[in-house]
């Protein structure tokens, strides 16, 4: 246990020391919130914009940490032979990956908390109707999206390539799944395409939890399935 907390703490510090990662995961979503709230009319159906935007952008933050930053870190470590050096130690691969995962998800948690604090302080955000469900949905979102990020990080040879692939997964998914534009304002066909992306169940579940709607077992099940399949393939395919 001592090992994993130590590695997680070091890895989180390393991410925060990288100005790009810190900006993307913390400042960028906060700026997005500000931009969105400048024209923040209530959504069709009457939901105040902030109550949809904060849950949506929390998926945006998870996506950035899980699909862009996590694979770039792993592939960069492979490229620079940081992984190879680690492999010559008794540290277990499971521990090292768990620590990487935990560090990136802590980053996403910080980004989410920042959004919530700004939402509460500046825009009259309503507290989540079911905080337990939001937490569960958040964790499953983090697990499912980062298992995809882990898969990219497992296969791509360089940090730069991982960033490109990560961004080209992240932005289309973000736009189509309702993490950037509210689902209520999207056309039916866009929503149908978006529903096929692994980010859609994350947006759905976190928003349901926030609004106090019942969470669909199918949505949660899809996220569990993605985590197991993508995560399993990633661990098998991983090259040092």
């Amino acid at each position: 246990m001592k090992g994993i907390t130590n590695v997680t703490a070091v890895e989180l510090k390393l991410i925060m020391r990288d100005p790009m990662s810190a900006f993307f995961a913390l400042a960028f979503p906060a700026i997005m919130l500000w931009v969105k709230m400048r024209s923040g009319k209530p959504l069709p159906g009457g939901l105040p914009a902030v109550d949809a935007t904060v849950p949506m952008l929390s998926v945006f933050v998870i996506g950035l940490a899980a699909l862009v930053i996590l694979p770039a870190t792993l592939a960069g470590y492979r490229e620079r032979r940081v992984l190879k050096r680690l492999r010559a130690t008794p540290a277990s691969p499971t521990m090292l990956f768990s620590a990487q995962w935990a560090a990136h998800m802590l980053l996403a948690a910080l980004g989410t908390m920042l959004l919530i604090v700004i939402g509460l302080a500046a825009y009259g955000l309503t507290a989540p109707a079911n905080a337990g469900n939001v937490l569960l949905a958040w964790i499953l979102s983090a697990l499912s999206l980062s298992s995809i990020g882990l898969l990219v990080g497992a296969l791509v040879p360089s940090g730069r390539a991982a960033t490109v692939i990560g961004l080209s997964l992240f932005f289309p998914m973000g736009f189509l799944s309702g993490a950037i534009i509210p689902r209520e304002t999207m056309s039916g066909s866009m929503r149908a395409i978006g529903d096929l992306t692994p980010m859609a169940p994350a947006v759905q579940a976190i928003r349901d939890g926030w609004a106090g709607d019942a969470m669909s077992p199918i949505t949660l099940g899809v996220m569990v399935a993605i985590s197991i399949v993508a995560g399993g393939v990633a661990l098998r395919a991983f090259r040092w």
């Binding site: 130590n6 070091v10 020391r17 050096r85 130690t89 008794p90 277990s92």
Partner: protein, 238 residues
């Protein structure tokens, strides 16, 4: 006491055969040099012996363990400095030592190690800001942080200026004085002559000569180890 026993080690990559049949023995407490031209397979020997690569054939025992099947157990007892391996740019010297120490069951005191290797002033320096000599010092300290019985050093002094190289030699002798067995891969014959108790010269995937520097010089009918090396490998330009 024999610490490393290699018999008929074979290894091929996609590009072709690298190790044909390498056999050698390293005794406890010695500095054992592995020399040879580029592409001779020196690094592959070290990587097989430290459990980083799977061998195609032959037997290999380090501290009585098989590096493949007993990798984790062996990793607790050896230290490795790899060619071209790196640390994350932003990691600080103290953080790296502390983190690596946490991987071992019975690590050395990383603070003591940091003082001993003159890294205390650099404790808060980021890896990317260190010069080549300081990076190598840190790599050696990381190789020692697990209190290893055997240390593999792969081209430790390549890229160092002459004074940093000499300093590193002192540090390697220091390890031997503490009873650590050192396997040193090197290009430099002056280094091998100054440091090593015994040397194996590897060429085209085989050990072509093995012995103390004195024995190799006699065998090559030369005045220096460098001349003997050329006589034994039969090449002036590698």
């Amino acid at each position: 006491m024999t610490v490393i026993e290699i018999e008929g080690l074979r290894k091929s990559y996609k590009s072709g055969r690298v190790l044909d049949s390498v056999s050698l023995k390293v005794e406890h407490g010695e500095i054992f040099g592995i020399a040879g031209p580029n592409g001779a397979g020196k690094t592959t020997v070290v990587e097989c012996a430290s459990g980083l690569r799977r061998r195609d054939g032959g037997t290999l025992r380090v501290l009585g363990l098989d590096p493949q099947s007993d990798r984790r157990e062996l990793a607790q007892r050896i230290g490795v400095q790899l060619q071209e391996a790196a640390l994350p740019d932003a990691i600080k010297v103290g953080e790296a030592l502390r983190m690596y120490a946490s991987f071992y069951d019975a690590p050395a005191d990383w603070r003591e190690l940091m003082d001993e290797w003159g890294l205390a002033d650099k404790k808060r320096a980021g890896f990317a800001s260190l010069s080549g000599g300081w990076k190598q010092r840190l790599f050696v300290a990381l190789a020692l942080v697990g209190n290893p019985e055997v240390v593999f050093l792969d081209e430790l002094t390549t890229g160092l200026d002459p004074s940093a190289r000499r300093m590193t030699w002192g540090l390697i002798r220091n390890m031997r004085e503490r009873g650590v067995t050192v396997v040193l891969v090197t290009h430099f014959m002056d280094e091998a002559e100054a440091l090593c108790d015994r040397i194996a010269i590897i060429d085209r995937g085989r050990v072509i000569a093995e012995g103390s520097p004195r024995e190799l010089i006699t065998k090559g009918r030369s005045d220096s180890l460098e001349d003997a090396y050329f006589a034994l490998t039969g090449r002036e330009t590698a």
